[in-house]
Symmetry: C2
Subunit: 204 residues, 2 copies
Amino acid sequence: MPLHLSLPMMKEPEFFESRENLFSHFSQYIRLSPALQADLADKIAIVHFRKGDTVHDTSRVCRESYFIRQGLLRTYYLKDGKEISEYFSAEAEWVNSPRSFMQQQLDIYSIDALENTEAYRLKVADLGYLFDHYPEMERYARLSMGSLFGHLIERITSLRFTSATEKYAHFCQAYAGLHHRIPLGMVASYLGIAQETLSRIRAR
Amino acid sequence: MPLHLSLPMMKEPEFFESRENLFSHFSQYIRLSPALQADLADKIAIVHFRKGDTVHDTSRVCRESYFIRQGLLRTYYLKDGKEISEYFSAEAEWVNSPRSFMQQQLDIYSIDALENTEAYRLKVADLGYLFDHYPEMERYARLSMGSLFGHLIERITSLRFTSATEKYAHFCQAYAGLHHRIPLGMVASYLGIAQETLSRIRAR
DNA sequence: CCCGCCATTTGACCCAGGTCAAATAATCAT
DNA sequence: ATGATTATTTGACCTGGGTCAAATGGCGGG
């Protein structure tokens, strides 16, 4: 099934505002030279997804990464015919199918949109170009990966020795404002507990 | 308590052989220029730990990273007075207390040696120097982190929906030859299951 | 506004694996 | 070697939370 996405159709001012969002994100990690800024602006496109759209599926190698300007995406995979949510990504986060994108091979993860979403798209080939020409992009990648690391380790800790109730509490804190926006069943599979159990916990 | 480590006291030939190990590791990811090679050789020291030694403890900020030439280290933390093993690191892996090393702040993880261990030591300040002067070091960091990522995600998957038996099977496969070298109780806490349960599983 | 399809809730039942306790085996230091 | 300390095994018991089933609630499309 082909990737389903609508093309940007925005007024100029809004477009500029958008770009600055991404740029200011970069600026948290590195100093953006004018040259890099220009090259980035050239490589990055804005795309829209409608709620329910498929952003990526397992039949393809993942060749693009998305930085969410607004909206909510979900990365999931199938296990015994059921969808298991791996994680959720909201504003100011990069999303792709990690191993598929990094090693350019097929992988089990699909991505879909839980809300109408507006995102910047960067193709893997363009990212490679940026890495080759701007050492500071390498640094950006290293630094931003670093903070992800902490989250993953925390999650592993939370999965191992905590009760279902504690897992949910940790989730609410880690995904702060987001947990309202995500259907209960998906939260349950993210936490590795049964939907029914989570429903009972909520009705505490 | 001060860091307990013995200084290198090696014959030259062995020393050279050691360094080449690390260099060939780097070569898997980047091309090592002679200048970088020289700088690396200058910054890196060889250290030895005896079985049971503390490599890092929670009272200090982690200011060095170790690349294991031979041996086995364990990263763990205390929960309710018990040691929970976070992960094990063997030959050809970098070890530190991740958040403490990356953000230069205190964290909950300690590291000790499960076997006599010989490792290369790189100080955080020297690593910063290398990042500042050699863009290819940034690339190395990005690429080598990438492969860690896959492992962490796999582990999260394995923790969520699998029985204790499956967790142990996954562990044996992920840590291939290593599982003989690690005490049962530590494996159990790594997997998030009770020691008694793991003992029964093994006696299948 | 109504219908049909999911998502969520509620109830009943059951088992994998946790806890506590005590025996046995392995390891270490003297 | 030998006793002391620590790691592993074994047994008995119990509970958190999984599974299956059925009722109820919500929402998007016509």
